[in-house]
Amino acid sequence: MDVEVTQDYQCVGKSCLLLQFTDKRFQPVHDLTIGVEFGARMITIEGKQIKLQIWDTAGQESFRSITRSYYRGAAGALLVYDITRRDTFNHLTTWLEDARQHSNSNMVIMLIGNKSDLESRREVKKEEGEAFAQEHGLIFMETSAKTASNVEEAFIDTAKEIFQKIQEGVFDINNEANGIKIGPQHAATNATLAGNQGGQQAGGGCC
């Protein structure tokens, strides 16, 4: 399943989130900021092996064709803003409209307030994030790529939501344009997940 991670500004930390999720061995020990634009990981949901492929939309905003294609090829999206920067939050509406317009209407969108470790510099209240998510029908979570808090949950919850939609038959798994495909082994599913954060998107796939 392909998931895309998107955001309209740099540095909200989506690529770090992605690396944190796909490769735990990169612990931010030496005070390093490391991120990545693509990652794949197997997870298990309800006993089914699912391969998540996560694509980051970083650096491609200048090409309209690319962003719109990413939205469309993804089964889910993580929309990431930085809780220490209000401008990243204010931009969500535009992003969301864009995503809704270009994506499959069934795309699961999760709203993520990243950098929850930086409580002292917080500019966006958790309640604001919750309210936004509720108004637009998104799932909401605050994470920290640094402390790994909620990172696992964010991706897995998104995957679960997608999985549930697959089970309900909302996604047509025979249509690969949805970002989901049946894997060769286990008759599992592939999906793409996309998220929005600081100008990056990632898509993922599950098997």
Partner: protein
Amino acid sequence: MYHILTKNTTVTEHNRNLLVETIRTITEILIWGDQNDSSVFDFFLEKNMFVFFLNILRQKSGRYVCVQLLQTLNILFENIGHETSLYYLLSNNYVNSIIVHKFDFSDEEIMAYYISFLKTLSLKLNNHTVHFFYNEHTNDFALYTEAIKFFNHPESMVRIAVRTITLNVYKVDNQPMLHYIRDKTAVPYFSNLVWFIGSHVIELDNCVQTDEEHRNREKLSGLVAEHLDHLHYLNDILIINCEFLNEVLTDHLLNSLFLPLYVYSLVDQDKGGERPKISLQVSLYLLSQVFLIIHNAPLVNSLTEVILNGDLSVFSAKVEQDVQKSSTKSGIRCFIKPSESLERSLEINKHKGRKRQQKRPNYKNVEEDEEEEKAPVEGPEGTEGASKGTKPSRENEEIEMVIMERCKLSSVKEQNITDEEKSAAAARTSIWNRPFLDLVYNALECAEDDYYALFVLCLLYAMSRNKGMEQGTLERIQLAAHDVEGESAYNPVLAERLIRIMSCAAQPDGKIRLATLELGCLLLKQLVVSKHGSIIKDVHLACLEGAREESVHLLRRFYKGEEIFLDMFEDEYRSMTLKPMNVEYLMMDASILLPPTWTPLTGIDFVKRLPCGDVERTRKAIRVFFMLRSLSLHLQGEPETQLPLTREEDLIKMEEILNLNNSDLIACTVITKDAGQVQRFLAVDIYQMSLVEPEAARLGWGVVKFAGLLQDMQVTGVEDDSRALNIVIHKPASSPHSKPFPILQATFIFSDHIRCIIAKQRLAKGRIQARRMKMQRIAALLDLPVQPSTEVMGFAHSSTAAAQHLPFRFYDQARRGSCDPAVQRSVFASVDKVPGFAVAQCTSQPGPSPLSSPSPPSSGSTGQCDSAAASSPSTPSVVQSPSEDTAASEQPRAPSFGQLAIADDSPAPLSRSGKGLGRNTDVETANLSPSLIPAPQPTISLIATNSSDSLGIESLTLVPPVDTDCILAVGCAPPPSAESDACTEAEGSSSSHSDDGQP
């Protein structure tokens, strides 16, 4: 670490984990080095670590190591911040060796990591770094050439990555590199791309043609989105504006795809023939998309020329030329029809594939690589290179041809074709042999339905809005109004067809979808409105007015006194103004490709299908009415004065400071959900209820802390507290995604039971009256005639009441316009009346009549909708009070007292100047007297109980219900003689007003 690598040069099962961990750690250290200490890089370079990487790759080290290595490189390149570090990493050509390494691309994960690696690299490209990838001497550009091999990979994410890479490459302004791309790769890549798109289109067409019962929609929307992706991609390339790349690309697009496949299919719908064809609707649809998305001037202009002015010779002539050329050019086919491009591309793919196969297995060491790399590039280029040179010239010829045709056309243009001449005109146009344009006009005749018309409108709209379009191109068909030396002209044929679509939409059984109508309105505006205003001819305007008249008649059939009609009416207006049609979004929807349908079960948006059921027919009629009204006003240069029913400027706003002297205010405690508790005064205005708090500076003035529309309010009692009311006001949903959002959701606690009941009564009455007034205004908009009533007194009363409210809006406007406080006051004096009183005033001082003159349009029919609204079945339920049963017995008495009190008291607050609070005062004055009476009841409950038996007929026939009138009559009892006079007078004046008031 270095030592580990030296010791473990061969990958075995055994050291796999160790190796992976080592590679990972190296990355981490390198990035740390980049961010902190550059000596790390020196060491890395010194020891030639990349060689180890390569060595590991070359051994068939298996997927695990491969993936880790690629991911490592990804991380490495992505996180390097310093240019110098990047140069270190890129020097020595090792990266290129990794790029051309033959990975196992059948493994989806390796593929994904590999392509993201290329993508990461491409993001690092700039004028300096490009030299590490592009070798001018050996003509090598592995990053690019390897990437484009995957342009049609089945995995969409891979295709997206390839497109990203190519765009990132084209973006780099490095002339030698771009020349290389044009000379060596552009032709094969673009021709393949074009073929790839073309074959998708044919699949799409198949999908449309074989569709039964809309079953292919899922697949269809995927294909349409794919096509859009391609167009956006092409447009992104064109926007980069690399001149010679654009030349090649434009040429390919025009001559291999747009003209032979899309445009040709417009005319030749014979099933036979060798050329591949797509159906008419698909080709129109796709062409609209092309014009909506691609704004590259040379491309759109040539394409438009052919569509508007070309004839079939464009094709035949070219084929002939091609034949000639192909003979001279030793068998190279220049004009690439899609069928041929299939062969060609297959051939190329074969070439490529073979070369790749040959090349890949040989990968043993770096030296060999470099020789081999050239092979795949030269392969396709060899076969393509020659054909490329001939193309630009062909394009020129084609344009020349078109220019010749232009001369013929100019004469046609001048003709003034009117209604009667239409058929003759059609004949004439066909004489001029413009098959494409003919087709466009013919499709606008929606005799059967608007299936094709919608696409044609989109196409015309897209063409006219295209930024790359030259003015002259469009003027030839006069698609937009233009003035030539004071004399203005537009395309009469087109205008007339558009108007016909409109009048068809206003027919009860018209099969025009709302989207078609809206687009038609847009186009017509564009067509006849020039810089200096509308230039529409009288005959066309008359036809348009006719259509509008019909839409009014149509809507009248649906006009009902039901409460829901008002909500629908306002909701439709809102959605029409808030969300004007976005043609680009419309053309993204694949569902319009299938024949128009009725049923909402398809999930197709309401505006893109025909209405189903009564409610939808009503909604459609409302929309048609709005659109034609707005169009007609626009073309006549008149401002809209009647819509929306609630105008922002009429409303009390938050933080506004009002003079509340003599206003009725009820003190209450407002408890909101988040446990906030504030002391406020409740005031009820004509359209709104507001919560105010005293203003510190001036006694008797208040600051509005909240204002919400009465019509959207719900009041319920609180079960265990007779002093409390629950009040919810919803804000109408502004977009389909957001739910109706409660702007107020609170419990109001009053000082005692009685004040609570009073407040409830005020609110409930206010709600009904607010709705009634709006219904009256709708009726006025629809020119509904006044129906004389036998209940003269009651009816007249209600109609005057309405007449009294309506001026309020206009007065209010006037008042706001002028700053004269005296005027203000007098306005309020005449306005701030309860029905009964207003009547009295009318008679006693005829003075107000000049003031009320602006209102007549709406006053005529108000009485009847008034009562209709009151009798609507849903009203009582909303205002139902918890104590209804106990109070029910007293109903008949209490309200009349209230009314009497109003009538008696209202003269007093005449001089009140509180803004828009007239209603308030009445309401509040009434307060006083009922408070003397035990357990007063809301008037509404009375209406509800009494009207229950007569409801059915009234709501249908619009005859004022008897009971309402009775109540009102009772209320008006005090000045009976004055009132009856007033009634007659009011009625007379209002009907006469309504006659001349409505155009």
